[in-house]
Each structure stands twice: as C-alpha cells, then as structure tokens.
C-alpha cells in the first residue's frame, strides 16, 4: 500500500514537471461523425435521387457549394456522401480548429450597422458544432464568435448565415437573408485569407 502511494507521488510530481508548459491549451474539436454527416447531407439535398449533389442542388446549401471545388476529389462536378465525409475530416486535418471571422455586411451598397449576423452550423453536421453570432458596427463589420470567451472565433465547419436587423420589433431585411437564408459559408483553412478577412455579404432590400 505504502509502495503504491509512493509510486503515485513520484508519477504525479513527474507529470507536474512535464506538464508545466505555459502555452494555452487548444480548444476542443467539435464532435462530428463525418460518415453520418455525408449521408445526412445527401438525404437532405439530393432532390433528383442520384445519390450525389450537383450545383443546382447545392444552391440550397451554400456552404457545400463553396466547398465543391475543394471537396470534389473525383472531379465530376458533384459531391457524393463519401466526398462530403472526407471534407469534414479534412477540416480538422489542417491543424486549425478555430478561425477569426469579421464579415462585412452592406445593404444596397452602404455599410449596415446594428445587424445581427448568425453563423448557424448546417443541420447535416449534427449537434457537435456551436452557433456563433455578432453585431455589425458603423463600418458594417461584425466580429462573429461563439459564447466561449476563452476562445473567441468560429470553429471550422459549414454554416448557414442568417443576417437580421430588427427595428421596433420588426424585421427590416428580406426573409432570404434570415429565416429563409440563402447565405452560407464554409470555414476552412484552405480557403485562404480571402475567406475570413474579406468575407462580405452584399444585401439588397428589394
């Protein structure tokens, strides 16, 4: 018994010494079943029943449409369940879990202040991802982030983007930008700097 406790002490002290790095810990990776996500995406968006999503079908899922050039590994211009699953795996293989996002929102060419921008994880990904939100400032730019203050930013993934501006309890933007949103974004390292520092949503009131 005493031997055991001594060993325990020894191991604890070594762990203490080894674990004393002062670099912040990485955020936890969102839990997702890639294969299930691939199947779910096909189920939700494959309207012609060929088991693949072409560009017309992908218009209903703008995040995947954005992923198409990078995810379409067999080059047929369509996404299969396997390709979507591989893409979901690839998001995390790059060494990035979270990225900064500061999208610019304009309405009829003018920066839109006070609009709420919500990044809602696409439904086919399941429950593991976090919703992120932000409000645009006078320059039309919103800092979009989840609620965890330790890790501000957006997890890599596929998002539906909903932009709304409520004035006196009334939604002032068309439904195609919020409740029936046609906007989306795929947050992934290989989209380059163009993605998150130059992410722009140009809305029209008509």
């Amino acid at each position: 018994m005493r031997l055991l406790s001594l060993h325990f002490l020894l191991i604890v002290s070594i762990l203490f010494a080894a674990g004393c790095s002062r670099r912040p810990r990485a955020p936890r990776r969102p839990g997702v079943n890639a294969a299930a996500a691939g199947r779910a995406a096909i189920e939700m968006y494959d309207t012609d029943g060929d088991g693949k999503l072409d560009t017309t079908e992908l218009e209903r899922c703008p995040a995947l449409l954005m992923a198409l050039p990078l995810a379409d590994t067999d080059g047929d211009g369509k996404l299969s369940a396997d390709e979507i699953a591989a893409r979901v795996e690839a998001w995390f293989a790059f060494g990035t879990i979270m990225m900064d996002a500061a999208p610019l929102v304009t309405l009829d060419g003018q920066p839109l202040e006070g609009a709420e921008v919500v990044f809602e994880p696409e439904e086919f990904l399941g429950e593991g991802f976090t919703e992120c939100r932000g409000v645009t400032d006078a320059s039309g730019q919103a800092r979009v982030s989840g609620s965890d203050a330790t890790y501000p930013g957006v997890y890599v993934g596929a998002y539906r983007v909903r932009i709304s501006k409520v004035v006196d309890g009334q939604e002032t933007l068309p439904a195609r930008y919020n409740t029936e949103s046609e906007l989306g974004v795929e947050v992934a390292e290989d989209h380059g700097t163009e993605l998150l520092d130059h992410l722009e949503f140009h809305l029209r009131s008509q």
């Binding site: 020894l10 010494a17 955020p27 060494g95 900064d100 500061a102 930013g153 700097t193």
Partner: protein, 329 residues
Amino acid sequence: MRPSKGSGFTLVELLVVITIIGILIGLLLPAVQAAREAARRLQCKNHLYQIGRASLQHVDSHGFYPSSGWGYLWTGDPDRGFGHRQPGGFFYNILPYMEQEAIHQLGAGLGDPHTSSAKRAELAKQKAAVVSILHCPSRRRAIGYPAIEGSRNANMPSTMAKTDYAANGGTRVYTGAGPSYPGCLQNYPNCNWSNSDTWLDAHFDGVSGERSEVQPAHIRDGTTNTYLAGEKYLNPNHYHTGRDGADNNSPYQGHDWDVNRWTRLDLVPRQDTPGVDTMSSRFGSAHPSGLHMLMCDGSVQNISYAIDPDVHRNLGNRKSGVPIPATAF
C-alpha cells in the same frame, strides 16, 4: 564474507529518495523554464530593437520608413532600389542596414528576372537566406522551413526563410498604401495609385504598406505613440509546416500577411494558441507575458494581451489624433 543484512538500503528507502528528488525537480523545473523564457524574451526584444535601428537608418538614408513592396507575388529585387519601385517588402528593405547587405545584393546586376534565369535562381537563394534576428527564440529556431508560396520574380527554393515579426499595416486589413490587389499589382506602374501626401492620408493609416513611403512627418500621433512593427501571431500547429497562409513565404516578399499585420478593432493581440486563428491578421507572440511592439522612434514596448482594443488600434494608426493613455504600456 559479510552478511548482506544491515548494509545497503531497502527498496522503500530508495523509493522515498526517488520521490523526494522527483518533487524537487517538479518544484525546480518551472523556475528553470521561467528563467529560460525570460532570457528568450529579452533576446526577442533585442531583435525588434535591431530591426528598429535598421529602420531608422533606412529613414536617414531615404527620408521615409521602409516600404512593404508590391504584394505577395513578389520578392525583393536588388536592382530596383528602395521605396515604391521596389517589389520586396519591409524586411528586404532593411537588410542593408542590419549588416545583411550580402543577402540584399543576391542577383544584383543580372537584369530583368522575367528574362534572366540566372537572376531568378539568385533570388531563390535570397528567399532561402535565414537571418536569426528575424526570429523570436521563444517560438522556433532560425532555420529554413518548407517552401510553399512562390514569387513571380524568383525560382522556388528548396527551403524558405521565415520571420516572426511583421510591419504595422494600419487599422484596415490589406488595404495598403498601394492599390489593392489585383488591379495595380499586375499593371504597375499603370494604375490608379499615388504616393502624394493627400493620397496617402486618405487611403492608408499604417506605417508600412504596399509601395508606401511614409515619412516621419506623416506620423502625426508622434513616433513614440505609433507602432512600426511587432511580433506576429502564429498558430503553433504551423510553426514548422510553412503552410499557414500568413507564414507561407519568405521575410523578403512584398506586402502580405506574412510580413504585415493590422490593428483593426477586433484584432487584439493574442498569445499563440494551438489550433486557433490560422492565417491571422493580428499581432501576437509565443510569450506568456505579453508581446513586444517596436515603435516608430525605435523603442520597444511590452504590450499586454489585455490591452484596451481601442488603445491598440490607435497605436497602429499614425494619425488617429487620440491621446494614448500613460497606462497603455
């Protein structure tokens, strides 16, 4: 023959001794690590100080702060002088003033890189040339890293030099003193861009941007109150891969995330955190205690990660007109 009983020590005694040694190491190691980090931090600060000295010598020679060149498609060309005609960026322009004239002059006199393969080969050597002053010892060793992004005017080297520092591009990300990519980047000098005081003031509030020639007189907030350069943020998962979009080229390239960072309101400085903020636009560092920023007067300040975002932004703006509180540093 002596009986073994009574001599030596028992297993329990041995374990007690090992445990005590283990605890002592456990107590001592963090202190040793902290002392090592303090030394590295000081060395890092000194590197920025030397970059500052070199920049001020550049100002003495040419009348303006080092320009950030033409954009990410280009690397330095020794036959194109300094200022707006020079495709290479901030760190390329200060090479002669930090006793690295040899790297700066690689390929000199070999003509147009578009037609001279000899020149392109020499400029590839430039991209591979490691300068230890451009590295923070707390982050990574001053060696060559995998070569990812090429330049129009150079061949691809087998490994590429890197830098852990970046010049201050102002409060607007990648809208430098030069015309924005891609228009003028390809068409220079036939583009809608000017280096006049009024144009510069209207389009650029940093100190080193695309083709910028910012003079000390343009630093209206005062050289003590304006960043010139600082440590750049980098995701630790990409310290050695060379694949981070904000760290995939050499220190001598033109205006890009690799060699310029910005102080937009949301871009508060951050300590390197694994998996977070790849292709970062912000300043940041590997030091737990805060980052170093080089001011336009050549001094180096310790900046806390908890700095007021407004103050940080105003320090990045050479003409904010807002007083910097004494508690900022």
